[in-house]
Symmetry: C2
Subunit: 356 residues, 2 copies
Amino acid sequence: MAVAVIMAGGKGERLWPLSRDRKPKQFVSFGEKSFFRTTVDRIKPVVGEENIYVVTQENRVKSVLKDVPSLPKKNIIIEPVAKNTAPAIGLAALKVAIWQGPEETMIVLPADHVVRDEETFKELVHFTFRLAEDNCLITLGIPPFYPHTGYGYIHYGELYKKEGKWEAFRVLEFTEKPSQEVAEKYLREGTYLWNSGMFAWKARVILEEMEKYMPDLYRGLMTIKSKVDTPEEKEVTNRVFQELESTSIDYGVMEKTDRSLVIPADIGWSDVGSWLALEEIFKKNQQGNIVLGKHLGIDTKNCIIWAKKPVVTLGIEDLVVVETDDVIFLMPKTHHQEVRSVIEALKRQKEFRELL
Amino acid sequence: MAVAVIMAGGKGERLWPLSRDRKPKQFVSFGEKSFFRTTVDRIKPVVGEENIYVVTQENRVKSVLKDVPSLPKKNIIIEPVAKNTAPAIGLAALKVAIWQGPEETMIVLPADHVVRDEETFKELVHFTFRLAEDNCLITLGIPPFYPHTGYGYIHYGELYKKEGKWEAFRVLEFTEKPSQEVAEKYLREGTYLWNSGMFAWKARVILEEMEKYMPDLYRGLMTIKSKVDTPEEKEVTNRVFQELESTSIDYGVMEKTDRSLVIPADIGWSDVGSWLALEEIFKKNQQGNIVLGKHLGIDTKNCIIWAKKPVVTLGIEDLVVVETDDVIFLMPKTHHQEVRSVIEALKRQKEFRELL
């Protein structure tokens, strides 16, 4: 058996105004179900709902349970403060080890990503679980189809194992977000994959790697360990997390470990990291526009439109148009990585703070 | 005494989606009162409400009376079909001549224009009425402040009369909408005024000119004349109007007559002929934006924003943003004269026809 750990603590500011401070990206949706709910439903047939753990903050618990009422409340793991992925994953690994045993395999899944090819995904998860038996750390890598500068890349080397059409490779290197030039080089070389943020390993194995490469975090986890399922757990966890550095699992462990494998996973993945990601998820119409809503475009092309009201455009190109219940937001596609500057501006202006 | 004839039959398609087929431009507003209501209120102190006549179509009567409930219903003159300004003015002149006498002076006022300097306007109207006693046709001309290519221009010659600071000049020529080059030449020469569409004359005088230059129209009016205030009036008026050519008063009479005077009228006028006209009416903010509503602009300049919901823009320039209850409309300022192509597109697409 294995468990899934869904990371549901993110903010997703770049998807404002769809995502908000009070409703982060994982709880919004481009269709009927939220990204979080979709993530749960996708992995449920593989591990069973009772084996789905969710890491999130205290103030998101209501949203989690509202979104997936059948989720056992005890499966929600609270990170007292958001300290990036490594502490959250460490805490989850600790609890999985205690509750299900240290040899339990866990797959880590971000709650706010899109996976269009669910069948392939499920088959790959099973392959991943089998690999985890070899005490390695497995990452799902996405075959890149354009030189994206917003993702980390994984450089892979020799084949480690092949099972039918599934292959796992040894990791040569985890790289940071590249420049345009470097990203183009990666794409040409063909031995690089996008880091999807989906990982699998035995609880014991990731804790061992943390002991080796993140000793502060490991010490903190051991402090918590003795208090798990006691009345002091919450207070101790709070205290430990306050002291921890914010570190991603990529930087803290994956870039350093030598037990790393990567599986090319062609699963229709997108991290929906910005409004531009809609181009990865939805098909453009004949005018090159992506429309979620009702749109009449005259002399209009290559726009992204997400609106409740009908939108009529005349002579418009490369524009992102978003309308929610309380705001209209416009930017050229070129600015899709700068949405955080909107959040900053909203914070500074009292009369607009309700839009945060 | 004198009367005012307010022309309230226009469509104002270029102000879509604020103006609609069911709610043409004269009945919309940028503030509390509609353009029509503002036009009535502006002239009321000069002529008295009982002397305000409104020319409109049958299906607009309700809107007229809803907007100005105190208006005597008998003062609404119905044009059976919109045939541009000459037939409408001819019909009004005929009725004024019958009801108030042929020597009555009438001022013709479009219902959908903005006049910011109401005091100057009123003083000029009195001057205009005095001039009309000389049996001439007077136009209010607007001193141009940029080379607008959407207006007709009036070339004026020698001074005809001066009263205090008011001056009337003989008209040398009414010109059609000029090219950019020609408009720039007009502006440099300083002897050209914009044709505001506001005219004054005695009822008898304009009818005489119609007899001379628009004999078909005049014949039609004479057919109607014998039936005014009889049960057959409506049917005869319908029949006559069906046959009439659509002709503007500018083309039909003003360009031909030699009894024409023009008064430079610096009255803060705008015909609100397109969304760009908001730049003539409202002051730009520090970023060069004109905002009617709530707007947070980051790296945003020279936009026109008219919206009910808050609008947030990032990296936007020279864009017109309009939001009404049922639609969001976007276009670059450069396209402000092409809004009719939107109307055409709406007509072609069934699912959008409700936005007409």
